[in-house]
């Protein structure tokens, strides 16, 4: 579904991604772990098409299409979704209006009819419940004045509504207490399906206690230096990143 080969990217003059390879198949969950500054968030943003990153080499194909050639909205239309580490506040932009615009833009791009107001509301209410979010959230401006936990839950709520093929969760656990983490993880797990893949970017192993990955990759200095099963995350938790990044440096 997603094939990343030798991806290199700069921010300004600084090379952040340095030959990253990753293959994600349908329905798989891949965790990407790594110390601060290893390039995890850059990788997530490059996949979603954020400006300010210059891709200097390599390729990314998604469902056979050259992803790097597409605008951010076109990537979303193909079924890519990024859950932001820092969801952006949009003062004055009503949440319901925003969600409806997003869902209908994606449906239109797929040649599906737009949802009418009633079916849309019904669908929203169902998904809200899963994430223990209050109806009142829909009347507020997008993320505006939301607590940290509400923002993260709102990201997963949007994911539930937009039903992407590939979701990238960028440090979704950061800033969440254990109860909020569990709610977010339950929301994510409810969305697991053979047709939906996920890339879970995280610094800590604890999220992976709740969202169990099929594969774990360690990112350091802009590339994946070790891949394994979920046990690799536990090993990292125990020994720290120094164990593996130091090993690489020594090699």
């Amino acid at each position: 579904m997603l094939s990343v080969k030798g991806l290199r990217a700069n921010v300004g003059d600084k090379e952040i991604l340095n030959g990253l390879d990753l293959e994600v198949g349908s329905g798989e969950i891949h965790a990407i772990m790594g110390p601060n500054g290893s390039g995890k968030s850059t990788f997530a943003h490059v996949l979603a098409g954020r400006e300010g990153y210059e891709v200097t080499g390599g390729s990314v194909t998604f469902d056979g299409q050259d992803l790097l050639d597409l605008e951010p909205e076109e990537r979303a239309h193909l079924g890519l979704f990024l859950a932001f580490q820092y969801p952006v506040e949009l003062p004055g932009v009503n949440n319901t209006y925003f969600l409806k615009a997003a869902l209908n833009a994606i449906r239109r791009s797929r040649g599906e009819p737009e949802l009418d107001a009633v079916s849309f509301l019904r669908r929203m209410r169902e998904r809200l419940k899963v994430l223990h979010l209050d109806d009142s959230l829909l009347k507020r401006p997008v993320n505006f004045g939301f607590s940290g936990g509400e923002k993260k839950r709102n990201e997963i709520f949007q994911m539930a509504l937009l039903e992407p093929k590939l979701a990238i969760l960028d440090e979704t656990d950061s800033g969440l207490d254990i109860d909020a983490l569990r709610i977010v993880a339950d929301g994510v797990n409810a969305l697991r399906s053979p047709e939906r893949s996920m890339i879970v970017v995280t610094h800590y192993q604890r999220l992976l206690d709740y969202i169990e990955p099929d594969y774990v990759h360690v990112l350091a200095r802009g590339r994946i230096i070790r891949s394994g099963g979920k046990d690799l995350a536990l090993e990292l938790e125990e020994k720290g990143y120094g164990w593996i990044t130091g090993e690489e440096a020594a090699a």
Binding site: E51, L90, A102
Partner: protein, 442 residues
């Protein structure tokens, strides 16, 4: 007196004065008008050496060679104005066409006792004494050029007189409709709204036009709000793209009175707004909100002069602008706090969103504080759409032009949400949306 040599119009703005006097012959009124005429002559044509005209030239205005709109347009039928109504808005409606009150198009409905609504000329003829203290009562005689012109060339306008404690459930709606004539015309309506102590009302003032004609409206609005009285005031200027619009708003606030004004400027080629606020009693609150859009060929110019001459009053001035294409705006706001006006609470803000390289705004908020126990602030921002916001929307599948429009509407929403009725808010939001859709946002 500076001569209008650059314009080829030897008379300058004196050409706006009516050739024959059509106003009722009242001695006191004659004296007001004579004094206004001499102020017009004394002031001459404004130049950019005057602080109030530093950023805005009147050259374009003068070049049009406007002549007074002397005759009332009586041929209009109610169906002709259907397009300019707000669907679902139930009001005491007064229609003024090219400066003249037209009873045939107005629908005042039942008015409770203590409330008079009518045309300025009508009341000058039937009960001139009711207006004797009111005309220039708030504006004063020491008026700047365009307000003096308005008095000297006095047409007609809306009069609302509310006795002590009177109140209206439904809003009063003033529709100022402009209809293009062969020759470019200037209409100079003067509106008088006076709320005695404890009176309460909502006023919706709408400046609209039929077609895209070229004309000028030079309006003056005198609002006097008595002790404990309340006025909500929405003002929507959505005139023809070729229109010239001038407003002088004069507001006087009595003790513990409250005023909330929402000014929306969408239309016109050249729009100058002078908003003047004076406090006449303690503990009064003035809330002035504004939203303006300016695209190609448009100038939106706002001058605020808020004088806190009395202690314990508060004022808010919050204006937002969206500029695109080669649109231009000026925000020149002054809040003055006199030496004795302790415990003044004033906050002025002007935020601008610039969508194109060719757009421009001159923002000059000023605080002049002469008292030592006050809470005053001011702030200005001029910025573009935040790239993070745009990316967030696009990452959800929303295309860039739609995302930009959503963000602009969100920016405007803070002001539009304050409009007094849902029906009006919907219409104005729709107009703003359309304007943004037509704007080149890419």
């Amino acid at each position: 007196m500076s001569g209008p040599t650059e314009t080829g119009t030897a008379l300058g703005f004196e050409g706006w004065l009516p050739s024959a006097d059509t106003a009722p012959g009242l001695d006191w009124l004659e004296s007001l008008r004579a004094s206004a005429r001499s102020r017009v002559r004394d002031q001459g044509v404004p130049t950019n050496k005057q602080e109030a005209w530093r950023y805005t030239s009147v050259k374009r205005l003068l070049e049009q060679g406007f002549v007074p709109a002397e005759d009332a347009i009586t041929a209009l039928q109610p169906e002709d104005i259907e397009d300019v109504l707000v669907p679902g808005l139930d009001t005491h409606r007064v229609v003024v066409v090219n400066g003249r009150y037209l009873p045939s198009l107005s629908s005042l409905g039942d008015l409770p006792s203590g409330v008079r609504i009518g045309g300025l000329r009508q009341i000058l003829e039937s009960d001139p004494d009711a207006l004797r203290e009111r005309l220039n009562g708030v504006a004063g005689e020491d008026q700047p050029l365009f307000a003096a012109l308005n008095m000297a060339g006095l047409d007609d306008g809306l009069v609302v007189l509310m006795d002590r404690g009177a109140s209206l459930e439904r809003p009063i709606e003033l529709i100022h409709l402009s209809v293009g004539m062969d020759e470019p015309r200037v209409a100079q309506p003067r509106h008088i709204v006076a709320l005695e102590d404890g009176a309460q009302a909502t006023l919706i003032e709408r400046y609209v036009s039929l077609g895209e004609s070229l004309y000028c409206t030079n309006s003056v609005l005198e609002l006097s709000i008595g002790r404990d009285a309340r006025l909500k005031h929405d003002r929507i200027q959505s005139e023809s793209p070729n229109a010239f619009h001038i407003t002088g708003l004069y507001l006087s606030l009595g003790q513990a009175s409250r005023y909330q004004g929402v000014n929306v400027g969408l239309g016109g080629a050249w729009a100058r707004n002078d908003l003047t606020v004076r406090f006449a009693g303690e503990h009064a609150e003035c809330d002035l909100q504004g939203l303006y859009l300016a695209g190609n060929g448009q100038l939106m110019d706002y001058h605020l002069d808020v004088v806190h001459g009395i202690p314990h009053c508060s004022s808010r001035e919050n204006f937002k602008g969206i500029l695109y294409g080669k649109g231009r705006a000026v925000f020149d706001g002054r809040v003055y706090v006199a030496k004795d006006a302790q415990k003044t609470d004033a906050a002025m803000s002007n935020r601008n969103l610039i969508l194109s390289e060719g757009a421009e705004v001159d923002a000059k908020p000023q605080l002049e504080i002469n008292a030592d126990d006050v809470k005053c602030s001011h702030g200005t921002t001029v910025g573009q759409i935040e790239p993070e916001m745009l990316f967030y929307l696009r990452s959800r599948g929303i295309t860039a032009p739609v995302a930009r429009r959503m963000l602009c509407l969100g920016f405007a929403g803070e002001i539009l949400d304050l409009l007094s009725s849902d029906a009006l808010r919907e219409q104005v939001a729709e107009q703003v949306g359309q304007r943004l859709e037509n704007a080149v946002l890419d």
